[in-house]
Amino acid sequence: MENLLSLAIFLPLLGAIAVSLVRKERFSKMLSLGISFVVLLIMLYLFVNFDWSYKGFQYTTKVDWIPSLGISYHVGVDGMAISLLLMTSLVFLVAFLWSWKIEDRPNLYFALFLALETACLGVFSALDLFLFYLFWEGMLIPMYFIIGLWGHDRKVYAANKFFVYTFFGSVFLLLGLASIVVYGYMMTGKISFDYLFHLGFSYPIILQSIVFLLFGIGFAVKIPMWPVHTWLPDAHVEAPTAGSVILAAVLLKMGTFGFVRYSLPLFPEASKQFIPLIFFLSLVAIIYTAMMAIAQTHIKRLIAYSSISHMGVVTLGTFAMDHNALNGAIYMMIAHGLSSAALFMSAGFIYDRIHSYHMDDLGGLARYIPKLAVFFMIAGLAGIGFPGLAGFVAEFLVFLGTYKSFPVWAFIAGSGVVLSAAYFLYMYKRVMFEEETLSEYRLEKWKHLKDLEAHHTLSFALIIALALLMGIYPYPFVKIIEQTTKYVLGG
């Protein structure tokens, strides 16, 4: 029971080793699917049994690991972490389902995804700074090769850009970690990387500001915030569909997760001090990247820009210093994970069938692949915050909370969100309708298009089901997330 969380973290890694040793295609697929399903069941079990009235971390395991450096294997979850873990394990299951028919080097593909799953689950559950960084960087190598080996035309460029940007951020993060650990050592004479040990400190304001910025660079690159966002569109455009799904749904959340888990509680004064900066960057992200999205003709690039825009809403809510806003921000992380996963799956499906992402080559698809058209619409509506779907609850909470203390910022941001409806509906129109712009040749070709297969439908259904549930009945989710909000903001 206590070690269920650790089991879930390392099961995929064991699977990765098994897959790379056995190297049988059938075995790889079955094992990956099986393991990700087991992990999802474990996470569901932990989620259901999570005690939201209990303050503090749950399901913790602590084992001494490197005693002379004060590093221990320490994992545990709070409300935010368990919700993100649930979303992560669901999205990975969907990614494996989606990749069911992959033909190019399937064993390596599944091994890398399994390794990636361990790293992602580890980031959200680590309670030791060293362990956190290990998982944080651990995700870099599998994702690099996923983009680089299975990507599209400019995959090498995109993979390198992804690697260098992310590495750029994480070295600063490492320096930040080292600084607070050394400060703890100088104050108490004890080296410790334990998160709870550092939670008890109040750092001097100078150190807080410096380390906040160092952490901030690391997280901002991952989120990504404007102006370090330029790696994301390239990475998304070139990545294979399942890679994009994981990238958008899980990897981007690591940055915002880092802000809530580390920056806010460890550096409360510095966080207040940097509110204007963060708000400014968030607003630029919300409005500028949404406008960039409108200007795109490549559907994957459009969705990538929309991700950056939505992550701007998350950072806005995170730093509004309000319970509702923070609840909304965390809710948004999960909601966006689901909606962006579904959107990238739609884009990937279109590419599978038509071999193009460009709006000029598309159009009129609603008549020929109607099932996809339905799911695509629901995914998009979830993304733009349509009532009844998860995104609405999130955006509502964020703007409600932000409006209380920062009405002007909230007003500008809120009007910026209108743009999201514009770019999505524009894309939908160009891809699904506008049959009259198509040539005879294309229409003839479209007639033979095959609609969603069983594994596609199942993938969509899983994601949409959770997005619907979170939209219609948000109570348990908000309650669980609130457990985190309470200790982060106090009260």
């Binding site: 960084y133 870099l140 590495f167 080292a178």
Partner: protein, 460 residues
């Protein structure tokens, strides 16, 4: 006379003599056997370390044994043994068998082992010369290879400059302090500072720090690849262990900090930028060595046990990664027509997934990605620098290591993500090479996940 303190060196000396005599009667076909015997000599020295009583001094206090330099010796013996195991197949395949090679590689190790214990400028000079001269020979010892001669000559010429700097520095040191022993000397004067500058420059030259790095790319590229592996690992470890000792005598000088910081900043930024223009992977790794010299010199900025611990951990593990990658390149080079041009590495993953993965492991380790052991060294350096209030240096380190990521990635890209045009016969990895690769990559992962197995051995 305390012979016990000299035990490991004596084992080496007798081993060298023994193989020397065997070599007189052996023909070329016994080359392999001779090399294997000679590879066992450092292992014997390694075992003999267990019987050394420390701390103690001998040779009229010139020679000092303590836990730290014993650890340094253990590391260089292990590295030497691995280098010897891996090198014989390369020379056989390259048709360049000299039976002398078998014991010649033990000579620099003997010199560096003496260096680690030396307490006095005379012994420092002698041991460093023993090591350097044997290395000049090793670099140029390849049949019919013009580049190797050229590399040896360049190394000799620039090495001679280092030697003369050391000699001149020693003379000034004697003039200002009246002694050739290292000691904490507080009566600073310009002559003493000049002496310190010259001695540090000579050592920086051996450690290939900018601006004393000019021999490094040429010697590394021209030397037979197993020898490059040796050059980039064993002498580096010894020099840094020695520099840590030197630091304990001179840390109070503010000039020391300035000098070391300057050397390190120059090295990391110069090498990391110049590495981008390289086409040969071997030369690229030579620049990576220079950049690492810059990182390592950061660990010598001030006396702070945590900082030096991190430095020694970092440099020891770096040596294993470096030896491993050059061994791997040597085994690739045995194929006909393979130069180390980056284009020759294209498609390596397709033909040799295991070799490409191991090379990628080392390259990711150089970048400093966990869970590879070099990451812990990097983290330790960060913590040590922050602890000594040298935050700007830590920031410079961050920026330099970000810059460095790109050129390592280019090698990875060509191995994994690009298709090769030329077809080579499959690379055959000899038993010795496999052993070296296995030990080095195992160390990289094992000590990355459980660094305290080695970290706790470094005691001050």
């Amino acid at each position: 006379m305390n012979w016990n303190a000299l035990l490991p060196e004596l084992v080496l000396v007798f081993g060298i003599f023994f193989i020397f005599i065997l070599d007189l009667f052996a023909s070329k076909k016994h080359y392999r056997t001779l090399t294997y015997i000679s590879a066992l000599v450092p292992i014997a020295s390694l075992i003999s370390l267990l019987f050394v009583n420390y701390p103690s001094k001998t040779l009229f206090d010139l020679f000092e044994v303590n836990s730290l330099n014993l650890l340094g010796k253990a590391v260089i013996y292990l590295l030497t043994s691995l280098a010897l195991f891996s090198m014989q197949d390369y020379y056989e395949k390259k048709n360049s068998v000299y039976t002398e090679l078998s014991y010649l590689l033990l000579m620099p190790t003997l010199g560096l082992s003496l260096l680690l214990s030396s307490n006095n400028l005379v012994l420092l000079f002698l041991s460093l010369e023993l090591a350097s001269i044997s290395m000049y020979v090793l670099v140029s010892l390849q049949k019919g290879e013009y580049f190797s001669k050229e590399a040896g000559f360049k190394y000799l010429v620039i090495g001679a400059v280092g030697t003369s700097m050391l000699a001149l520095g020693s003379a000034f040191y004697y003039a200002s302090t009246g002694s050739l022993f290292f000691k904490e000397y507080r009566d600073e004067n310009s002559l003493f500072l000049l002496a310190l500058f010259l001695i540090l420059s000579a050592l920086a030259l051996k450690a290939s720090a900018v601006p004393y790095h000019f021999w490094t790319p040429d010697a590394y590229e021209g030397a037979p690849t197993p020898i490059t592996g040796y050059l980039s690992s064993v002498p580096k470890v010894a020099i840094y262990f020695f520099l840590v000792k030197l630091l304990s005598y001179f840390y109070h000088l503010k000039q020391w900090l300035i000098l070391v910081a300057l050397l390190s900043l120059l090295s990391m930024f110069y090498a990391n930028f110049v590495a981008y223009t390289q086409r040969s992977v071997k030369r690229l790794l030579a620049y990576s060595t220079i950049a690492h010299a810059g990182y390592f010199f950061l660990g010598l900025a001030t006396a702070q046990p945590n900082l030096q611990k991190a430095l020694l951990f970092y440099v020891s593990l770096y040596a294993f990664a470096s030896l491993g990658s050059f061994t791997l390149m040597a085994s690739l080079e045995k194929r006909e027509g393979f130069s180390h041009h980056i284009l020759d590495y294209r498609g390596l993953f397709k033909d040799h997934p295991a070799l490409a993965s191991i090379f990628a492991l080392f390259l990711f380790a150089f970048i400093g990605i966990p869970p590879m052991a070099l990451f812990v060294g990097k983290l330790g350096l960060f913590m040590g620098l922050v602890n000594s209030m040298l935050f700007p240096l830590a920031l410079a380190f961050v920026i330099a290591s970000i810059i460095s990521a790109g050129y390592y990635l280019r090698v990875i890209v060509s191995m994994f993500l690009e298709e090769g045009e030329k077809k080579y016969p499959p690379a055959k990895v000899s038993g010795g090479e496999a052993l070296t690769l296995m030990v080095c990559s195992l160390f990289m992962l094992l000590l990355g996940i459980f660094p305290h197995l080695f970290y706790d051995l470094i005691k001050f």
